[in-house]
Symmetry: C2
Subunit: 262 residues, 2 copies
């Protein structure tokens, strides 16, 4: 029998300590690495912070499995048991270029079911989190249930790169034309946190990895938000996927009106 309150307590302690380590690193020169290509920067901090969490988790909860972006965790091939899915620095390009607007993201699952979700805005020291069945929070503030909104009143997060397409029926172009406004922040965790707090009505991405959405999905679903792929199907927690996260009603409309038209 897992004591989830205890897991929650230590996870929050580790997040705050990891955040302090990141802030302290700003005074030292960053060593920047390129991973896949120039658009996918990795710094030494990403690796150090992932290792920090892995060490703590293995010490405290030796039976838990860990899937981390930097690959220092376990070879996780199923969601059986307890699995931590970790992005030590979500928004690495922001981290490097802006020294703000990056998050630590953690989702903790038991047999595939979301239990605890955390999105930590390190620079602003703001923690968004949820305990499944007990609500979602922005620091001490309980987040209200997300309410329906019309497409024409919606402000949504999406990257301008989705508009680069020779397809005259590009669904993203239609969405941009129809909504009230768009934003792009360069961190999936930030955009999930913004949907959870109502600052964005939806967020759309063509490809996210499990560590990009694992923390956010638990928080957003806890307060009635809907997270699926572009076909309206649930996300696979072990695979890359297109992702649409939105307020109820708006989510259904976006899927029906822009992605199931053919």
């Amino acid at each position: 029998m897992i004591n989830w309150s205890n897991v929650d307590k230590v996870a929050k302690e580790w997040l705050k300590e990891a955040g302090k380590n990141i802030i302290a690193s700003f005074k030292t020169a960053l060593q920047i690495d390129t991973k896949a290509d120039a658009n996918d920067l990795v710094t030494n901090i990403d690796k150090e912070i992932e290792q920090y969490f892995i060490n703590r988790i293995r010490e405290t909860f030796p039976s838990h499995n860990i899937l981390g972006e930097e690959g220092f965790g376990d070879e996780v091939e199923s969601m059986d048991g307890v699995v931590w899915i970790i992005d030590p620095v979500d928004g690495t390009m922001n981290f490097v270029h802006q020294q703000r607007n990056f998050f630590i993201s953690i989702g903790i699952f038991e047999n595939g079911e979301g239990k605890l979700g955390y999105l930590y805005d390190v620079v602003h020291n703001e923690l968004y989190y949820a305990k499944s069945g007990e609500g979602a929070f922005w620091d001490e503030l309980r987040l209200p249930t997300l309410e329906k909104v019309e497409v024409s009143e919606a402000v949504i997060g999406l990257s301008a790169s989705l508009l680069i397409s020779s397809d005259p029926n590009n669904p993203f172009a239609s969405i941009v034309k129809d909504v009230r406004g768009t934003r792009s922040y360069g961190s999936a965790a930030l955009e999930f946190a913004y949907v959870a707090t109502g600052r964005l009505d939806a967020y759309i991405s063509k490809t996210l990895s499990p560590w990009d959405f694992a923390g956010g999905i638990i928080i957003v679903e806890e307060i009635g938000g809907v997270v699926t792929d572009f076909n309206g199907q649930p996300l696979n927690l072990l695979k890359k996927s297109p992702v649409i996260v939105a307020k109820p009603g708006l989510h259904e409309t976006l899927i029906k009106q822009y992605f199931q038209v053919n």
Copy 2:
């Protein structure tokens, strides 16, 4: 002879007090108005804050002219004498939808020459400002001179709506393909502040009004950034204009490579 240090001192006091009034308003229900259309929201707070500045300026500096977004200022037809150009809430949609990511923007000019510029991030209590000839600052921190950067390494701010075009040679599409990344924040003042601090390398907008760029231009130019229209011409402080603000070198390349190709 104008005592600019005194103008600077009171302007900062008024900014902080106006910011406190805005924060206090979050506890009351907002009355939302639509101005031109649904994309151009105006709240009662925009009007109140503009009126606040106008009252203070008229009382303290009766000879100064005031150009404000909400139209409570003077009919300013020339930049002769001292002119304050004020946007009481830059990023009104963010103000309404997010209760963050909006700024108070002020530029103070003497015979058309920028003297004092302010971009105030109310919620985060961060003030970006410049005194012409004496440097630009982010709170207590002096901002370094902006350095050259290549297009392929640049992160630039632009709205996804610029990509909605049937023109196969849309210059914004080419820019999005060539840069490292794009962001969109919905506040020109925020994006000018991000260019000033190096968090963005450039910001491009198809139309800004004088109050959208008046504060930012003074700050960015003070540290070597370049602000022009898409033809590389200086902005007219009394007219709407396309705007490109960028680090030196990058600005020249963007103009030459994407806007002067024909």
